[in-house]
Every structure is written in structure tokens, then in C-alpha cells.
């Protein structure tokens, strides 16, 4: 069931050290990279169908193509390592076990989009991981892998800087991340009508997730066909899937797209811990509509299949919920998270998360009624599609799905 591309070196002792990384194939894509024209690299990535692994699943190659050509301004690559979505803990595996794969991916990407400086925005809490990443970058500079030249021979200047966040979930939203990188509060920006690249101090920039960038060297080395042979036609390749909650073997496992969710739970996740029965799974980080145990039986882990059953694949980080857990408790826990993390810019989100939090508190105290469930659904509808970023629609997705799929659980709290 496991297919290792990104996680190939994770189990090798000291895989984060340059010496070990070099002995195990890191930086082996660079010679081929520089034999290609930058546009050909982008074309290969587009042909591979590589999709962003940060949650949205947007195609990666077409995103690079948005970078303006022959623009006199410097271009930048910004790597999104703000990983803060509840249930998601995959990028940290790359920081910890194979930071040189990320650096290799950055070299490939920067060459393709003609960027000479890459910033890795890493969440503030990941101190250990940012230290490890900085050590790897230092090794790479000292060995001449990056800096004035690539691998001491290719005439391409590249700097990499790690930028530590300060503890704000919203900075995982790419435009909020750039605001933060520009030294401001993490407030998402209004989006343009047409498709265009991102802007870092008015310079063109591309923002990609850590795992997406770490998937690039394999595509450069083995071509698009080497990637599309895994996964499904529309969701090619592999992804680092994570599983947490009351299961025997919680953790991160790399699989091709297209495996059944129930198999992932039972085989790699080891099944539920003794005496627990499955009630539901939140599929890809907490912002995806919840699936009941019955729906889990049908779920297939690729973007299209998940959309077909009314949810999303998100980051692939699944949270498993057992029969003994109250879904009202789950909803309350998550709304507290979203209430705390709302950036406060848009009223429907800032107030909506707070209202739902208060209503759920009231229900948990036994003072709720059926009317309250309608109010929650009402508030959800005011949050959907009416804000600058997708934070509020994501809150609506998870809360509405819990209320609609488990209304009876809320009703057990009602006194009248």
C-alpha cells in the first residue's frame, strides 16, 4: 500500500545530514535539471499533473506558468511550511528526515520560475524543525550546493532563507503568509479576478507547499511519466497521508492516490484501538466535511472521489473519531480552534465563529433547543462565500456537516 517517493529516505539513519542525503540520491536531479530549459521544467511538471499538497489541490505547473516573463523585477519562491491544519503533520516529516530533498526541490523550482531567493515560511512552533532546516541549508551553502552557484558548477545564484512565523493558523493562507513575510499581521489579501501570480513587495512570487516542492525532484529526474504511473488519471502521484485519533498506528504514510480510506485506516493505521468502534472521520485536516462510518466505507483517497461523496481530500490528514466521543464535543473543540484563529478581518468570520462557539457552549450546558441548530446553520450560510479567504467557508463545511449528519447527538443535550 505504501509508495515511497517523497518519504523514500525517511527511515535511513541520519537522513537529514548532507553526507547521508548525497549517498542516498539527493541532488541527483540537478544535472538533468540544468540540461533542460526552465520552461521545459515547468512543462514537465505540468505534464506530471502534480497538484498542490497544502489542501487545495490546485495544479502546480500552471501556477508556475503565471509568473510573468521578461519582468525586470526579481522573482521569488515562497515555500509554505506553516502547517497548522488540525490533523496535519506531514511537512514536519520532510523538515525532520529529508530537508535536503526540500532544498533540491527548491533548486528545481527556482530554476523553472527564475527565482534567485526562496523563503521557507515555517510555523513558529516548529522550532526544532526550523533549526534542523537551517542546519541543512548551512551544510548546502558550505558545500557549494546553493549560493553563488548550484553544485559549484551551474551558473545560477540561489539563496534560501527560513522565516519563522509567530503562531497564526491563518498564515497558511498564501496571501496572509506573504503579508506576514512582509512584516505585517497575517491578513489575507483580496484576490484578483483573473489568475495571476502572488506578489511579494510587488515582486512576482509563487507560493507552494513544502510537500509539493519536495515532489518536484522526482519529476525532473524521472519525467512526468515516472510520476503519472502512480495514482489516478486526475490525481496522479503520491501524497503523505496522515492518520490520528484513537487508532493503533497513528502517523504519516506515503501512498499513491486512489486507495480506499477504510483500507488506510485498517491496514496502515492498524485499525481502531482496542474496544473502540469507528464513528466518523474528518478526512483532510479539520476543514473538510466529516464522513460517517458508512461513508468512510465508500471513500477513496483522491481529489475527485472525495468531491463525489461531498467532502474534500484537503491535506490528507485524517482525524478518526470513535463511538464514545460526542459529536457536540467535537464541534465545540473545532469551533474554539476556528474562533481563536480567525484573523478578524471579515465580520462574518470573526463574529460567526464566535456565535457558533457560544451556541455550542449553550447546548453543552443543556440550555439548547432545536432552534439553536437552525441558528447554527443560518450562521454557517452567512459565512459561506462572503469573506476574503476560504477560512469561513471551511468552518461552514465542517460545522454544517457535523450538525446535518449527527443532529440526534445534539438533541440528546436538549432538556425540552
Amino acid at each position: 500500500m505504501i509508495t515511497k517517493i517523497v518519504s523514500k529516505n525517511f527511515d535511513i539513519p541520519n537522513s537529514h545530514k548532507l553526507e547521508v542525503a548525497l549517498a542516498n540520491g539527493r541532488y541527483s536531479s540537478i544535472d538533468k535539471l540544468f540540461s533542460m530549459a526552465p520552461d521545459d521544467v515547468t512543462a514537465e511538471v505540468t505534464a506530471s499533473g502534480l497538484r498542490g499538497k497544502g489542501g487545495g489541490g490546485a495544479a502546480c505547473g500552471p501556477k508556475w506558468e503565471l509568473m510573468p516573463k521578461n519582468d525586470p523585477r526579481p522573482a521569488y519562491l515562497i515555500v509554505n511550511g506553516d502547517e497548522s491544519e488540525p490533523g496535519t503533520f506531514k511537512d514536519r516529516q520532510i523538515f525532520e528526515y529529508d530537508p535536503h530533498l526540500l532544498i533540491e526541490g527548491i533548486i528545481c523550482t527556482c530554476y523553472a520560475i527564475n527565482a534567485h531567493h526562496a523563503y521557507i515560511y515555517i510555523r513558529g512552533e516548529y522550532k526544532f524543525f526550523s533549526d534542523r532546516l537551517n542546519e541543512a541549508i548551512k551544510e548546502a551553502y558550505q558545500a557549494g550546493i546553493i549560493g553563488d552557484k548550484i553544485m559549484n558548477k551551474y551558473d545560477f545564484k540561489l539563496d534560501i532563507t527560513v522565516h519563522r512565523g509567530g503562531g497564526a493558523y491563518i498564515c497558511g493562507e498564501k496571501s496572509a503568509l506573504i503579508e506576514s513575510l512582509e512584516g505585517k499581521r497575517g491578513h489575507p489579501r483580496l484576490k484578483p479576478h483573473g489568475k495571476e501570480c502572488e506578489w511579494f513587495f510587488d515582486n512576482p512570487a509563487t507560493v507552494n507547499n513544502v510537500e509539493t516542492i519536495a515532489s518536484v525532484p522526482n519529476i525532473v529526474e524521472n519525467g512526468a511519466a515516472g510520476y503519472t504511473k502512480y495514482g489516478t488519471a486526475k490525481s496522479p502521484g503520491t501524497m503523505l497521508f496522515a492518520i490520528s485519533g484513537p487508532v493503533k498506528n497513528p502517523g504519516v504514510y506515503e501512498m499513491a492516490y486512489g486507495n480506499k480510506m477504510i483500507d488506510f485506516l485498517n491496514i496502515l493505521g492498524g485499525g481502531m484501538i482496542e474496544g473502540k468502534k469507528l464513528k466518523a472521520i474528518i478526512p483532510g485536516g479539520s476543514s473538510c466535511p466529516i464522513l460517517t462510518a458508512q461513508e468512510v466505507e465508500q471513500a477513496v483517497l483522491d481529489y475527485e472521489s472525495m468531491w463525489d461523496i461531498g467532502s474534500t481530500l484537503g491535506t490528507g490528514g485524517m482525524i478518526v473519531i470513535d463511538e464514545d466521543t460526542s459529536m457536540v464535543d467535537v464541534a465545540k473543540n473545532l469551533i474554539e480552534f476556528y474562533h481563536h484563529e480567525s484573523c478578524g478581518q471579515c465580520t462574518p468570520c470573526r463574529e460567526g465563529t464566535g456565535w457558533i462557539d457560544k451556541i455550542l457552549e449553550k447546548i453543552l450546558c443543556g440550555d439548547g433547543s432545536s432552534e439553536d441548530l437552525n441558528t447554527i446553520l443560518d450562521v454557517c450560510s452567512t459565512m459561506n462565500g462572503k469573506t476574503i479567504c476560504v477560512f469561513a467557508p471551511a468552518v461552514k463545511d465542517i460545522i454544517e456537516s457535523i450538525v446535518k449528519k449527527f443532529p440526534h447527538e445534539f438533541k440528546t443535550y436538549f432538556k425540552n
Partner: protein, 159 residues
Amino acid sequence: MSSFKFTPENEVKFQEYVSRYPLIDSVMLPALWLVQEQEAWVSPEAMVYVADKLGKTPIQVYEVATFYTMFNLKPIGKHHIELCKTLSCMLCGSRDIKKYIKESIGIEPGQTSEDGLFHLSEVECLGACGGAPMFALDGVYHEKLTTQKVDELIKECKK
């Protein structure tokens, strides 16, 4: 004039950060981190100092420092326990860990122990869901916590 000043080592680090970005504005978070590493919290004086270094107004620094939850806006205990409370940790027993910390150190989230040794914060998802329940102790992750493990860590801090 502000009473806060970077140590010579941190001044070097600050200048290194300045050289890494197209505009000095980006050095806001790195500078606040340097402040917190130096003093364990970010005082109003330090914010004025950072504003001065970055060519910003103090309010511009204040709005950033208060937006990001990791900056301590007042002094806290010597050891900072950040207990994850989000879903995977809750499902795996973070509430029991919270209760145990209350019993053994006598503090609830937001409080500092009387001896000033510990400060407990309840925080949102730390990205360690596979190791739930967990907390970060002085920034270091401790996963798959049991009461016994918590005991050992507390003892270690008291040494």
C-alpha cells in the same frame, strides 16, 4: 529612548536578517523573536526599540506582536508548558493531562505557578497529531504523554 537594547550577538543576527530580505519590513517577526529569546517576553520598551530599528511606528510593531499568539506580552514562568487542546489531542486524552498538571503543579491554563517555575498555556494544534496527547515544554515537543512522562518532565525542570 528605550531601555531595551539587543545584545551584541543579537545585533549581529539582526543585521544578518536585514541582509536576507528585499526590504527591512520583513525583519519584523525575526526581530520580535530575537527580543523574546533575549528577554523571554516582548515588553513595550522592546517594541519601541524594534520600531526604531525598522523605521516603523511603535503601534505598527504592537499590532504585529499582539496578532501572533506566540509572543509573550508579559513575563511568564521560567518553564513554559504549551498544551495542545485541539481535536486529535482531545480525542487521545489532553484533558486528562490538563487535569494532571492542575493536580501536580496547581496551575490552570494562563496561570504561572507560585514559585514562578511553570507557566501553562492551552494552545491550538501544534502539528503533532500522530503523537497525541502532547505539549511543548520550552518549545521542545513531548508526544504520547502519560502522567508518568509528565511527572518525569516536571521533576527534570525542578532540578
